[in-house]
């Protein structure tokens, strides 16, 4: 999925410059530009943005509250500071990253990719089974009980159950017999291994 960026910056020269760099990146789109943060929250909803770049000097003393509030309202977004002037380190602390006025093009590109890396990992995590989950799936498909699986993998029964819940959430399959078919179809086990 392409990343959707909102740019909130009062200086048109700076905003144009950064927008040009971002738009040159294949997996990023600037979906909205604002010169003040008044309607930022509505804009995030309207554009389904996942990355907001904002100049902290626009927020002044309310900086910290604003960032905390926005994070609560939109848990899925990454908030990045655009440091256009010399700013106190504390002011930048609440942000998920910082772009400096003097950053080079390649540095900005590198940072942008870093900012969304966590996002994409999480999306992947929602569909693909982790190594541990695959191991549990194989054990379930072979007909092992939760207790046996816990003993063999040296984890608690509670952890086995959590893995099984995740397996069901990701595959959409609830029954043991269904999971066995799934494991066979994906060549995770061989028919001869079944009891």
């Amino acid at each position: 999925m392409r990343n959707r960026v909102i740019l909130c910056e009062a200086s048109e020269i700076i905003a144009n410059g950064l927008a040009e760099v971002i738009d040159s990146m294949a997996q990023f789109d600037v979906v909205a530009r604002l010169d003040n943060p008044a309607h930022l929250s509505e804009k995030i909803l309207a554009t389904d943005a996942n990355l907001v770049i904002i100049d902290p000097s626009l927020l002044g003393f309310q900086n910290k509250e604003f960032v905390t509030q926005l994070g609560k309202e939109h848990p899925g977004i990454t908030l990045v500071a655009l440091a256009t002037s010399c700013l106190d380190h504390a002011m930048l602390a609440p942000y998920g990253g910082v772009i400096e006025l003097h950053d080079t093009r390649s540095k900005i590109i590198g940072k942008m990719n870093e900012f969304v890396k966590g996002d994409n990992d999480r999306k992947n995590d929602d569909v693909e089974l982790s190594k541990r989950e695959t191991d549990v799936l194989i054990a379930v498909a072979k007909g092992m009980m939760n207790k046996e699986i816990a003993d063999q993998m040296n984890i608690s029964i509670h952890t086995v159950i959590t893995h099984r819940k995740n397996i069901t959430r990701k595959t959409g399959i609830k029954s043991v017999s269904g999971l066995t078919v799934y494991a066979l179809l994906n060549n995770l086990i061989d028919e001869n291994e079944l009891i």
Partner: protein
């Protein structure tokens, strides 16, 4: 839902309404008619008339239709106490027969073609999956409900109290029949290689969705009508 629609819906589930109108209001109710033994050709007769002609308790018929139509509907305690419930077990048994003698064989016929097309690599395991599922369904319907639960209820209705069973257990014993059915659909749609009989697989998946929906509503009738009814029978006995 606006009040207007609510009022209109309420009107449909009354004994004065025409059966044809009720069915036009919710077409799924059509498949309940054979389970009550109601013959087609009912013309423009009212629900009460049609029920009388077919020896079906009107109030029971309306209650079951309403649960089937609206998953949040729960019958009032007075319905449980005063309605003629003699038709409830025959209705549930007829539903079971319908699943066992019509829906599952139909499903099986489609599935057989897919299993054959899968060849030796996936065919046997699909067959095994289905056979196991069918065994589970048979066990639940035939051995559990029809041979244990229903005779228990009949005995209660005759004023006896067998100590073999209590309906409370039934609540916990709803098996994963629907879960496995959903699994089967996921396997057919998402996980079998795409080139094996795609048309057939879409068709069978639509059938499974319908059956799964029907079974869901069937368990609502058991949860919202059968269990409270049997509990009231249990409590009425000394």
């Amino acid at each position: 839902m606006t009040d207007d629609i609510m009022a209109k819906k309420k009107d449909l589930f009354s004994k004065e309404a025409k059966l044809a109108e009720l069915i036009a209001g919710d077409r799924k109710l059509l498949q309940l008619l054979p389970r009550f033994g109601i013959a087609l050709g009912f013309g423009d007769r009212s629900i009460e008339e049609v029920c009388r002609m077919n020896h079906v308790g009107t109030e029971l018929f309306l209650t079951i239709c309403e649960i089937y139509s609206d998953s949040s509907f729960k019958p009032l305690p007075k319905t449980l106490h005063h309605a003629d419930m003699s038709g409830l077990l025959p209705y549930l048994k007829a539903s079971h027969q319908y699943y066992l003698n019509e829906r599952f064989p139909h499903l099986e016929e489609h599935l057989q073609r897919i299993i054959e097309a899968c060849g030796t690599k996936y065919g046997p395991m699909l067959r095994h999956f289905y056979d196991e599922y069918k065994r589970e369904v048979m066990r639940h319907i035939q051995f559990y409900e029809e041979e244990l639960v229903f005779p228990y209820i009949e005995a209660l209705r005759n004023g006896q109290r067998p100590d073999t069973y209590q309906i409370e257990e039934f609540r916990h014993n709803h098996t994963n029949i629907q879960d496995v059915l959903d699994d089967m659909m996921n396997i057919l749609l998402k996980y079998l290689p795409g080139d094996i009989l795609p048309k057939e697989r879409i068709e069978i998946s639509l059938d499974i969705m319908e059956l799964s929906d029907d079974l869901n509503r069937h368990s609502l009738i058991e949860d919202h009508l059968l269990i409270p009814y049997v509990e009231s029978l249990e409590n009425a006995l000394p």
